[in-house]
Symmetry: D2
Subunit: 160 residues, 4 copies
């Protein structure tokens, strides 16, 4: 199985489908792109997942979240990540490895979804805070993929 | 006159006061920090402007905006910057030189204000698009200072 | 004339040819990629210049350098940029808008060429410091293009 | 025990002392700063480790390296990180969360040490490649701390 398929399966295991992400992309871009629809947003999400740097960020972020859930890290880093303390920013930094390759439109969209937490992002954020699940990295990874897809659609629309 | 004072005067010349910026910082953080008020936000804005990298970004960004207004650049870059074309991202990049030094909270706040354009940011953005003024760099610089101040307040609140 | 051609002409006007850049790329990668030659490096430089973000950085950086030479900015920013003061980092930041889209290999190569200044980068850096020319932005822009090309070659070599 | 002390102990456990890092800082800056000595470099390293973002990066990076050594991640991410594959860049990205807060001088120094691997950085890189140790994140974290310290010394020297 190729790494792209593995990354998509890992996202699915953690509760995030391609359609979940596509719906947020659609909401962000529907006022700016004429012929946008959910199908096009899903196709764009899949194109984002072609990039090796995106796959690496997905696999690494989910590995850390799961490592925290399983209690395999030492107590200090466990506590910091599990509680997603306000000053822990490694999750956002990891997400930036996705966002950066899609330029500044991706960056501002990432900031927006990270703050407003639309759709699935809000759901996994809440789940991570209220249950024994750890979604500290997952919500930022998903936000970054969504922001990258929104940016890619915007760029291709401008280039038409 | 020191460079900090010069940077503040240049912002004022271009239509942005310390109070304009403090009001946005207050709105972003008022739900998260108990003893916040406009005065504290103004003081924080002034602390952000102590940093050499912030002063350099302010002076450079405004110099480019004014250069565009005066028509001193060659036609290609003039057209790209004056129209703040969707794919021009150098303005956001310059703003990042401010945002980066305040960590990931600053980054997500920057994405948020860049997209939602609260207060003075919306006013200068509109003015730049409708008049012969060029505010392509200014709105991002102001957004970055606001985001940096919001992040600084959040960090100091957590550390208490 | 398209923007890519304009960007290449502007680089040429300021003293930097495609071959100058290709030679540095070749030196960086010759020990790691078997079938590398100058022609392949030149082709890669041209692919880097296809990207809108790269073109924007080239045109903006050169516009600022020329603005400084012509004395059209106010005295404070003129002095800071002309002398390329140690704490002025906007030039590196602009270069990062090129480097970021090519991932972390590009970033470390950029740090390397920015510090070691091989080939044309050293020549324009010296010229900028000793004459009335201003190359504050140019040397970083060229370093970024070279680093991006080296990274692109490394990625395609790994994917083979 | 406070988090700074814990981070320093974790670095020590993994084979990196304050003195190891200070020696590289000294070599980078000795030609540029008159009154530099190893003691000053050590003090600067300790100041860098005061920052919460630096502590978080150290603790997270080492936790991942140890997780890989212990075989607690799934096979795909294990293989990618253990072999520090050429296209895996999450380690450099994590290091950037340290480098970014010290501005562009830190960034270029990071690129330089990441490529040239002086002193302890080369030793842990080699050890990670030749033994069953995993130092994929450690060498970049150490490079980032060194680069941040070199930048901090340069800034304070300019400001004198």
């Amino acid at each position: 199985m190729d790494l792209k398929k593995i990354a998509l399966n890992r996202l699915k295991d953690r509760g995030v489908s391609i359609n979940d992400m596509a719906k947020i992309v659609y909401d962000i871009q529907k006022d700016f792109i004429d012929d946008i629809d959910i199908k096009k947003c899903e196709e764009t999400i899949l194109l984002i997942l072609n990039k090796r740097e995106v796959i690496n960020a997905v696999l690494t972020g989910i590995a850390i979240d799961e490592g925290v859930e399983k209690g395999i890290f030492d107590e200090h880093i466990y506590k910091i990540i599990m509680e997603d303390q306000g000053l822990y920013g490694v999750d956002e930094i990891l997400a930036l490895s996705i966002v950066n390759i899609y330029g500044s439109i991706a960056l501002t969209n990432f900031g927006y979804v990270d703050k407003c937490k639309p759709g699935i992002i809000g759901i996994i954020d809440k789940e991570g805070k209220e249950s024994n699940k750890c979604h500290t990295f997952l919500d930022d990874i998903v936000g970054a993929i969504v922001a990258a897809a929104a940016s890619r659609l915007a760029h291709h629309n401008e280039d038409k």
